[in-house]
Symmetry: C2
Subunit: 148 residues, 2 copies
DNA sequence: ATTAAGCCTATCGGAATTATAGACTAATTG
DNA sequence: CAATTAGTCTATAATTCCGATAGGCTTAAT
C-alpha cells in the first residue's frame, strides 16, 4: 500500500493540474475540496515544491501552482518522493538499492527475478501516467457517468 | 516493500520445494540455512500450515513439509497471506477492498484506474511464479554462474 | 518415561505514519 | 508603513505496525 502522503500528493497535484496556468491556489482550498488535513497537506506541498514540481506565492493572492507542465509529472516521481522505491524488494531497485540481509547469493535468487519483473512493469505503467493523462481520463470518466 | 514475513516465507517455501517429497524438515534447519530467526520462523510456518500450504509432523523425526504440489503454490498466495492485498490502494483490491476515506467519487477517480492497471499486471505475474518455476529458475541461474 | 519437536500466548522495543500546534517569515495592499 | 494574508519551519503527540523473543504447553516417537 502507498502512504497517505503519496495519495494526498497525487490528489493535490491532479487538483492543481485541472487549473493549470490559472494562477496560485490556496492550501486551504485544496485541503477542503480534496478532504486532506490542512496542516498535513502543508508539509506535503512543501516537499513537492522543494522537489521542483510546484511553485508557491506568499501573501495575499498567494498559494501553490504547478511549475512543471502536467505531462512532465508522472506517478512514479511522486511515489518515489514520498514512499521511496516502487519495487517490493530492496534488492530490485536501482536508486534505493540495498542487499537483503538474509540472502545468501543474490545472483542465484529466483525470488529476486520474479520481483524484478513486477517492478519493471509497475515502473513502466506509472511513468506513462502523467498529470495530463490523469486529468484527461477524469473527463472521460465523468462523461461516461453522466450518460447513465 | 513486502514484509520480512513474506520474504522469509518465500525463502522457506523454496527451501521446502527443493526437497519436495523427501519427508519433513526441521524448523531449526530451515532457520539456519536460510538465515531466519528461528522463533520468528515458527510463527510463519504455522501460518502457512493453517492456510493449508504446509503440513507438519510433531515429535522426533518431525518437521514441516509441503502439503501442496510446488506448481500449486504461487507468490500471490503467499503475499496475500502475510501482507494482505497486492494492490497499492485499498480501493483497487477485490478481497481486501476498502473505500479511500478522502475520495469524493470512486467512479471518476483517474488515479484509481492507474493503480488498477498496476495491480492487474502484478497479480498476473505473481500468479505465474510458482514454487516449481522458482526452483527451476534457481537451477538455471546456478548453471549460468558456474560457467563464469 | 523420556526426549524431541512443533504449538500457543503474551509481550516488548523501535520505527514509521499520520497528524497537530505554534511561532516565524514574506508578500501584498490600503 | 502597518495590517493582513498566506506560506514556512520546528517540534512533538498519538497511533499503529513490525520484527523479534520468552516461556510454557502439547504431541509423538522410541
Amino acid at each position: 500500500m502507498i502512504s497517505k502522503k503519496s495519495k494526498y500528493a497525487l490528489n493535490a497535484l491532479v487538483h492543481l493540474a485541472r487549473q493549470y496556468g490559472e494562477g496560485p491556489i490556496l492550501i486551504s482550498t485544496i485541503a477542503e475540496e480534496e478532504n486532506i488535513p490542512q496542516k498535513f497537506l502543508e508539509t506535503i506541498l512543501l516537499d513537492l515544491k522543494n522537489s521542483g514540481i510546484l511553485g508557491s506565492k506568499k501573501g495575499k493572492g498567494g498559494g501553490y501552482y504547478l511549475r512543471k507542465k502536467p505531462e512532465e509529472v508522472n506517478i512514479a516521481q511522486v511515489l518515489r518522493l514520498f514512499d521511496g522505491a516502487i519495487a517490493l524488494l530492496p534488492c530490485v531497485t536501482f536508486r534505493f538499492y540495498e542487499r537483503c540481509e538474509e540472502c545468501k547469493d543474490e545472483d542465484t535468487c529466483s525470488i529476486r527475478e520474479a520481483f524484478l519483473k513486477v517492478r519493471n512493469e509497475s515502473v513502466r505503467i506509472f511513468k506513462n501516467e502523467t498529470l495530463k493523462t490523469l486529468v484527461e481520463r477524469e473527463k472521460v470518466l465523468l462523461k461516461k457517468k453522466r450518460k447513465k
